[in-house]
Amino acid sequence: MTITLNGSKTDVADDITLAALMTELALPTRGSAAVVDGEVVPRGLWTGLTLRQGQVVELVTAVQGG
């Protein structure tokens, strides 16, 4: 299926969970977070949350900053 990931249309496995997606992207748990369709997803829900076709996902992480 296709989702919008950080602004780009991206093909991902159907019914992939948020946690699985983050693992796929080798995203460190510590320092990262996710927004799905405008809602910040609590850390505890990452594994349980199954993404759906067309959802808008923002994956962010801590970077050097002011």
Binding site: L27, P28, G31, A33, V35, V40, R43, Q64
Partner: protein
């Protein structure tokens, strides 16, 4: 030295807070964190970038410094509140350096959006450290909103112009009930010392260190300067005098 620096009930060893932006490498950041002896440093939240090698968080964890996520780049209260929520999930901290700027040219805070964001975040249980301008009235409003510190600028971010209006900083300090942290505009060590002499409880700086020709040496300089300024504030400086006053005895001159 019996002069603890406490924010939101947490005592910090150092009164110097370091921003990590603008450094040439993670390696330099790690060295500056160590050289500065800081207990708290800021990070920004950005989209995952495959290109990024290594993680600032690993560096920070390695140095044992507490992390303070910021909302840099946000222009509205809404964005800032969302970014703070994201940072809380990402870093498991309620602390946030709240930045809501009005434009790219001045990077000055938008007073209305800033105050609104502060009120919302406090209501959601955050410990808010707002980056604000040097207006004593806005600083007061932010304290009334429940911020755990106020962080007035010395001059605009990255300018290195130092403390443009010491009078305002003194006014803010004179009525503050939370720590006042001088944030932005510091260019060199004497600026940091002056901030402390004006009564600030701490100094937050990034570019002055990360963009110096020798960031690590400047980190050490800033650590010393903040200590020097704090000690001088507590030691009670001599008053300024228009006329001279001798420091050697005027009596007992030999006739030669």
């Amino acid at each position: 030295m019996g002069d603890p620096f406490v924010i939101a009930g947490i005592e910090l060893e150092s009164r110097l807070i370091l921003g990590t932006g603008g450094a040439p490498s993670l390696h330099v950041i790690e060295e500056t964190l160590r050289a500065s002896g800081t207990s708290l440093c800021t990070v920004a939240m950005r989209r995952v970038d495959a290109a990024t090698s290594g993680s600032i968080i690993d560096v920070i964890d390695r140095t044992g410094v507490r992390v303070l996520p910021n909302t840099a780049g946000c222009r509205t209260a809404r964005e800032a509140v969302q970014t703070a929520a994201l940072a809380r999930e990402a870093l498991q901290t309620d602390w946030v350096k709240l930045e809501v700027v009005a434009d790219e040219r001045t990077l000055l805070p938008d007073p209305l959006e800033l105050l609104e964001a502060a009120q919302t975040l406090v209501a959601r249980g955050f410990h808010v450290l707002p980056y604000t301008n040097d207006d004593p009235v806005l600083a007061r409003r932010l304290q009334q909103a429940g911020c755990v510190a106020v962080m007035p600028l010395g001059s605009p971010i990255g300018t290195g112009l130092g403390i443009a209006n010491p009078h305002n900083i003194e006014l803010i300090v004179s009525e503050a009930e939370v720590p006042v942290i001088l944030d932005a505009g510091i260019g060199t060590a004497s600026d940091a010392a002056l901030a402390m002499e004006l009564g600030c409880a701490g100094v937050l700086l990034a570019s002055a260190v990360t963009r110096a020709q020798d960031p690590v040496a400047m980190a050490t300089a800033m650590a010393r300067a903040v200590e020097a300024g704090r000690l001088a504030r507590l030691a009670g400086r001599i008053p300024k005098r228009f006329h001279a006053q001798p420091s050697s005895p005027t009596e007992g001159m030999a006739v030669l």
